[in-house]
């Protein structure tokens, strides 16, 4: 298989793009795709400081590498969740530290157990929260918003790619969760000064392409799966979508792009009366958590502070 640009040996074929590329031109293509996404969706500007949420996995470390190569000002944040199975959180933190040290990049680590008194599995074992992944998501969102606000970052960049987004879209569409459908997109605007703007610069890359980039770049990422995500619903939906993709290349991207474009041009409008699905649209819709000071849609403690009994210090 030959590179469509130089005729050299291709390392990857992308049927959905009708494109085969060698190592050099593949890297250039990835950088171009991400830069296009950043500009097309007005994610951020060169002078902005960007907080990159890194897990130690292929997507987030690859994203950090790409943004750095594109010349953006980035700092990383790693949230140590306290997952001890096969030293998952420790190993992941080590990968992030090693990556940052090799490139001279700044980052910070927030250890959930050291900061709030309990790890995510310990917190879940107390019976608070419905599902561990939901608790984990809530904790991570709270911490990232806090770090972004305190550090004055323009936005938080995450490593979500097409497969992540298409799987979420399929799940939400199958259950007609219109509030979630209304919120999904490559840019989640800030609706309150203490709720960070969130961007997904890998929104034009397939998960396979993101992994190939990390491997080509020699990034040492965590290959093991989060032990709590092994049977995650999102993996099941990704497998279903990959079966469709094999029959009809490009379907995953068309599915996701259809949502993004439909919302942008007004053809798709979603509304939900469910409080947990429909976000407030402006700062006046929020109340302030009396404990942590972060905005909340209900009165009293926010959902994060209600997880801890008594509330964390």
């Amino acid at each position: 298989m030959k590179c469509d640009i130089c005729g050299g040996l291709a390392i990857i074929g992308m049927p959905q793009n009708r494109l085969n590329l060698c190592e050099e031109h593949y890297q250039a293509w990835v950088l171009k795709m991400v830069q296009r996404a950043i500009e097309h969706h007005h994610m951020f500007m060169p002078q902005d400081r960007i907080l990159v949420a890194v897990s130690g996995g292929k997507d987030s470390l690859g994203l950090w590498d790409i943004l750095t190569r594109l010349g953006y000002q980035t700092e990383g944040v790693y949230i140590h969740l306290g997952i001890t199975h096969e030293d998952y959180s420790d190993v992941s933190q080590h990968k992030v530290e090693q990556f940052a040290a090799e490139r001279g990049l700044a980052y910070q680590v927030v250890n959930v157990r050291q900061t709030y008194g309990q790890s995510i599995p310990e917190l879940k074992s107390t019976g608070r929260g419905k599902h561990l992944c939901a608790v984990c998501g809530l904790v991570k969102r709270h911490i990232m918003n806090r770090i972004a606000y305190e550090g004055g970052y323009a936005c938080i960049a995450t490593g979500h790619q097409v497969d992540d987004e298409a799987a979420i879209l399929l799940q939400n569409a199958l259950h007609w969760q219109s509030g979630y459908l209304g919120r999904q997109g490559p840019v989640l605007p800030s609706t309150h000064p203490r709720l960070a703007r969130k961007v997904k610069p890998l929104c034009r890359l397939y998960e396979r392409e993101s992994a190939a980039y990390a491997l080509v770049r020699g990034i040492d990422f965590v290959e093991q799966e989060c032990p709590y995500a092994v049977r995650a619903t999102s993996i099941f939906y990704k497998q279903i979508l990959n079966q469709i993709e094999a029959r009809s290349p490009g379907t995953k991207r068309q599915f996701y792009d259809g949502l993004v474009e439909g919302k942008a041009n007004g053809e798709l409008v979603f509304h939900s009366d469910k409080v947990d699905e429909e976000p407030a649209l402006n700062a006046q819709d929020y109340q302030t958590c009396p404990h942590c000071g972060q905005p909340t849609l209900g009165s009293g403690l926010c959902a994060f502070c209600r997880l801890w009994e008594p509330p964390h210090e």
Binding site: M1, L9, A10, I11, I12, G13, N20, E23, G57, K58, D59, C133, C136, D163, E207, R208, S210, A211, A212, L215, V216, E223, E225, C226, Y228, A229, V230, A232, T233, S234, I235, K238, Q239, N242, E245, A246
Partner: protein, 65 residues
């Protein structure tokens, strides 16, 4: 018979040399769309022919969460 080795998630298989990478991946029951193949730590395309003694490591690309 000359063979090459396929490694995926701590499991190993022997496959016939001369097979394409894609055929080897399918032979061991893995969906090619879910992995990136590495030979000598380098990404290789699916049409690459395996040589005797090659080690093909398959890196899983699907993550949940």
């Amino acid at each position: 018979m000359e063979t090459a080795k396929v490694i995926y998630r701590k499991k190993e298989w022997e496959v016939a040399a001369g097979m394409t990478v894609r055929s080897a991946i399918e032979k061991v029951g893995v969906d090619p769309s879910t992995v990136i193949p590495l030979r000598a730590k380098k990404v290789v395309n699916e049409q690459t022919l395996l040589q005797a003694g090659d080690e093909l490591k398959l890196v899983n690309v699907i993550s949940g969460g």
